[in-house]
Each structure stands twice: as C-alpha cells, then as structure tokens.
C-alpha cells in the first residue's frame, strides 16, 4: 500500500491547479483521463508528477471527447476517475457528461473557466455556468460546486468525489482561470483526520462471477425504444435528484436581514462582493450578500426568502447574465428588482461593486 499523499496539516502557498491535483490525491482518486487546454493544464502536470509515488494512473487522450468517454469507462470499471477541462474543451465534454447523466455515472470534472464563446481568451471568465449546469441534451441532472478561493478548491474537490459516488450524478467543480493560476495560502490536510469518510467506489462492469451464470449481466444503455420507457427512467433520475438536492445544496449569506440591497455572486467574484459589503456597511448602507456555492442544484428556496424581503438584488458576474438566469428561475414571483453588473470575460473588483451598489441604492 502506497503512503498517504498528505499527513496531518500542511500550510502551503501554491496555485489553484496544484491544489486541485493534491485534493484529487487526497480524495483517493485512482485515475485521471485528460486533454490539455489552458488554464487547467497544471492539474495534469502536478497529477502526473505525483502519481508514481501513490500508485495512481493517468491517460492523455486525443481530445476532450475521448477524455470524457475514457473517464466514463474508468468509472464503469469501478475506479474514482476524473478529468479536467475548460472552454471549448468543456463544450466537447458535454457529450460524455450527458452519457454520465443518463447512466448515473459519478464522473468528477474540474472546469477552470476561460473566456468565451469559442476559443476567446485562455485567462478567465464565469461564462461556463450555463454549459456546466445545464450541458448536453437533457435536464442537467448533475451537481456543480463553485469555489471562491484555494481552500474551497481543496475542500470542494475532495467533497465532489464523495457527493458523486454517494448520489451517482456527474459532479463538477467550477473554478476559473484566476483560481487556477494564482498562488495563495491554503491548508492541505489528511481528510480522514478531519472525519472525512470516503464513499467507496463500486464496479458497474466486471463484478465477480460469470454473467448469466452466477449473476445478471450489467447491461448499461442510453438508447430507449419507447418514449414511455425513457420517461420512466428520467422520472426516477429526477426523483432521486430532487430528493438529494436539499442534502447537497450549499450557500452563504450575510447581512441580509435588514438589507435594502443584496448582492448575489459566485466563485471568485464573491471575494469582491464580500469586501464590498463590508465597506458599504461601514459607510452605513444596508447591504448584504447571497452566494450560491452549489450552482446546481441551486439554493432556490433560500434565495427566494431574501428576494421577497429586500428591495433589490444586484447580480455581479463575469458573464452576461448566466448566473442571473439561475437567479431569475429560482426567485420567480418574488418582489425584488434585479439589477445587473455583468462583465463577460473580465474580472470584477470591489471598487466596481461598491460603485454599482451606490448607484442603485
């Protein structure tokens, strides 16, 4: 048995991609299938440097279609398999992920968002929200975490493997280029020492015994002969998803009780929002924040309560309303006015958020 990747606690200063690679090691991920695309490449770089010490595996495929489908294969064989991608790669990855949705395969994918549409920039955006939460043809039967700093990148990557294998839905960690590339302090830890119990993986194919003799064969398909047959399968998936949602949904909020304005943001943009709210409060403005940590399932009920109390919701995102769509859907019928701060493909500073808030207050 190979040694543990992390023992005790380690305070380190590293990039987000490196943090992800360590989180996957610590989570007990067995194999990564990947294809290079900026800004996620260093996840593969760090993974391939570390894995000989811990008996893990890696395959570099010919494109993201194959990276996604080989990851699907790895999960079918019963390994904790994952992949990582961004931008146009995420576009291609939606095909294998729709198969994972149909077959309930706990594939874990790290997305480090870059600018879009198309190749756009290799740097940063929050423009992969719609694709990552909804993706493919179907209902988006998947889980998406949006971390906002390196500590969360570590925590939620770890968590993603357990959520995926517990509920058997494809699970995404939606980071971005800033998180991927910047260095900051983070505490890596041995998850077991903090009471993290690994949800075991399980083989879909290759279980002991001879199929048809000692056991039923595992016959997995995603093509159905009749509409009713598909409907029945989807009803089960959707029922399971809705049952799971309250257990998985995560969010953060502060200063919302008396707020005239609540700022909604996710991912790294939330950092600016947190500071902006602090600054505005110090100046006497009644401002709070709401931050969805799971973008799918979305903390709809929790946000709706706020949207019925406050006057305005300011939605700050590095996209042209992708988070806003999720918000509008979630709070439909609520009384708060929606005010946008959309900056597709570029970052948003605390100063910009403060200025916009003062403008609309």
């Amino acid at each position: 048995m190979s040694e543990k990747p992390i023992t005790g606690e380690k305070r380190v200063f590293m990039t987000g991609n490196e943090v992800v690679a360590w989180a996957c090691l610590a989570a007990g991920a067995d194999i990564m299938y990947g294809y290079p695309i900026t800004p996620q490449n260093e996840i593969m770089h760090y993974w391939t440097r570390q894995i000989p010490k811990y008996g893990r595996k890696f395959l570099q495929t010919e494109d993201e279609l194959s990276a996604g489908f080989t990851t699907v294969g790895g999960v079918l064989a019963g390994l904790k398999a994952f992949t990582a991608t961004a931008g146009p790669g995420n576009t291609l990855m939606q095909e294998p992920m729709s198969m994972a949705e149909m077959m309930r395969l706990p594939v874990v994918t790290i997305v480090q968002q870059r600018g879009g549409p198309s190749t756009a920039t290799v740097i940063y955006s929050q423009q992969e929200v719609t694709m990552t939460t909804q993706g493919g043809n179907g209902e988006g039967i998947r889980i998406v975490y949006s971390p906002s700093n390196h500590q969360e990148l570590f925590d939620y990557t770890l968590k993603a493997f357990n959520t995926a294998w517990k509920y058997r839905f494809p699970t995404f960690v939606l980071g971005d280029g800033y998180q991927a590339k910047l260095r900051e302090s983070v505490t890596l830890y041995d998850p077991e020492e903090r009471g993290y119990v690994r949800v075991p993986s399980e083989k879909y194919v290759g279980k002991p015994g001879t199929p048809g003799v000692d056991r039923e064969p595992g016959h997995y398909r995603n093509t159905y002969n009749t509409e009713e047959e598909l409907f029945e399968v989807l009803q089960q998936h959707i029922t399971d998803y809705e049952k799971m949602a309250p257990e998985v949904i995560e969010y953060a909020q502060d200063n919302v009780e008396d707020a005239d304005l609540v700022i909604v943001a996710h991912g790294v943009v939330f950092r600016g929002v947190r500071d902006a709210v602090k600054e505005l409060r110090e100046e006497g403005y009644k401002v709070g924040f709401f931050r969805p940590i799971t973008l799918r399932p979305f903390p709809a009920e929790q946000l709706k309560v706020i949207a019925n109390k406050t006057k305005k919701l300011l939605i700050a995102e590095s996209a042209q309303g992708q988070l806003a769509k999720l918000v509008k859907d979630a709070i439909y019928g609520a009384t708060a006015e929606i005010v946008p701060l959309f900056r597709p493909g570029v970052g948003i500073t605390t100063e910009q958020i403060v200025a916009r808030a003062k403008e609309v207050l």
Binding site: D30, I31, Y33, K57, L59, T61, E62, D63, L65, S66, F69, T70, T71, V72, G73, G74, L76, A77, G78, L79, A81, E95, P96, M99, M103, K203, Y204, V205, G206, K207, G209, T210, P211, G212, V213, P217, G218, H219, Y220, R221, N222, T223
Partner: protein, 257 residues
C-alpha cells in the same frame, strides 16, 4: 416426425434477448455469432465487457451474457479504452459499424490504434449508415446508390471508400493484430475474431477486425443479391485477409531463433 435441430446458440449469448432485433438478413447477427463462439472457446465470458456504438450495433446492448455498455456514436473505443486502463484484467470489445468507426469515431480509433491500446475493436462494414436510413458512409462503394448519393457515390466529389484495416495496420506498432473478414466466410471470420481476442488476452497490442456484412434493408436486395454484393462487389475493393499478424511474427521468430 423428426424435427431438424435449431443451430445451437453460443453459450455466451443471452437467450432472453433472442430472437435478436436486427432486420432479417442483417450481417450483425452473424458477426455476433462468431464473437459469441470465440468467447465460448476462449472461456472468457466472465471477463468480457462488450461495448456497442450508436447505429444498428446498439441493438446488441443486451445481446450477451456479458457486461455491456451502449455508448454514443463513435465513442465506443474511448469508453472501452477507459475501462481497460482502469481494469486491465477485463477483455474489452468495442463493436461498431463503418460510420461509428471510420467517420464520427475515426479520431478515437486512430489514436487508440496509435497508442496500441490493449482492446479489441470489431467493425461491421455494410457500406451505409443503416439505422438512420441508408445515407452514405465512408465505406459506400464508388457508384453505389444511397440516400445522400442518390445517383451513386462519386469519388470525385466524395473521395474513395475508407480502407480501415489497411490504415490501422499502417499506424499500429508491434503486437497489433489487424484483419478483414466477411460474413460469407464465417469460419475464417471467427478465426480472426478469436485471434483478435487472444491478442488482447496475451496483452500484445491493439486488435482490429473489420467484417464485411450485408444490409438487405438499405441495399434493397434479396438474399441472392445481398450475397452477390458482399462476395463479388465488396471483396473487389475490400480485400479479405490478415493485414498484421503478431502470431505469425512470433512463429517466425521462434523458427529463426
């Protein structure tokens, strides 16, 4: 009264899913029979995972008493590669048609072949996209009339048919097994499929068998014309035989050494 006995089904076939769902006269049943018998003779039913593509091949999703995964169009090879990389003890069989293998799935096949992945790919070549109603495939013969080339395939406009085994034998490394068989010679086809599986069992390299197979529905042929098309027309262009044979190479090496 004597009743002529039904030909025996391979043991690895799943009786519950028979009769199968392919059209009468379809070549898939024959290729899958060869595969079933090969699995029986090699005694690997407990280790095989069978992956099928979209297109007619998807109808084999519950064909065997083996674990099976029905994938997307063109993506069977990567899924089987993923399984094999995760669990090298499994015998991974990717099953597809000429569309799934040579058009939408060519990237997967070529790169799996280049990497010499230890998987076995079986490809039924019936010269058309059959499930979707008879459109032109990479293997449609020059002059052959299909739905998207109603006046016959014109190689000037659409190129010549893909020579799969020839290409794959050129790009694979040592240890790969590559052959083209035909449903009009089942004994030979089965021997190729068996070697393609044995090659994987031995962990030698990529294994690939193309099988010339009939599609009377889309060809609009009767039994006689179906066989004539396979035997007289297809084999003119698609040469049957072993293209790369590590078993022979091994034998030669033993004789020389």
């Amino acid at each position: 009264m004597s009743v002529s006995p039904q030909p025996a089904m391979p043991k690895s076939w799943r009786a519950e899913s028979k009769p199968h769902k392919f059209c009468p006269g379809c070549g898939h049943g024959l290729v899958l029979k060869c595969l079933g018998e090969a699995i029986d003779e090699l005694g690997i039913q407990d280790r095989v995972v069978f992956g099928c593509d979209i297109g007619c091949s998807l109808l084999s999703w519950d064909f065997f008493n083996c674990d099976s995964v029905q994938t997307h169009h063109g993506r069977t090879t990567p899924v089987m590669t993923g399984i094999k990389r995760a669990n090298p003890d499994m015998i991974c069989v990717a099953y597809m048609g000429d569309g799934g293998g040579y058009a939408i799935g060519i990237g997967g096949i070529v790169n799996a072949a280049s990497r010499n992945e230890k998987v076995t790919v079986l490809l039924a070549n019936n010269t058309v996209y059959a499930m979707t109603g008879g459109q032109m495939s990479p293997c449609t013969m020059p002059g052959q009339k299909v739905e998207t080339a109603p006046y016959g395939r014109d190689p000037e406009a659409t190129g010549m048919p893909t020579q799969g085994p020839e290409m794959i034998s050129a790009i694979t490394g040592d240890g790969a097994y590559v052959a083209r068989g035909t449903t009009s010679n089942l004994k030979q086809l089965k021997s190729y499929i068996k070697k393609a599986l044995q090659n994987q069992i031995d962990g030698r390299g990529f294994s690939f068998v193309e099988a010339l197979a009939g599609c009377p529905t889309n060809w609009r042929t009767n039994a006689e014309k179906t066989w004539a098309f396979i035997e007289k027309e297809m084999t003119q262009y698609y040469k049957v035989g072993e293209k790369k044979n590590p078993f022979e190479a091994k034998k030669e090496a033993q004789q020389n050494g």
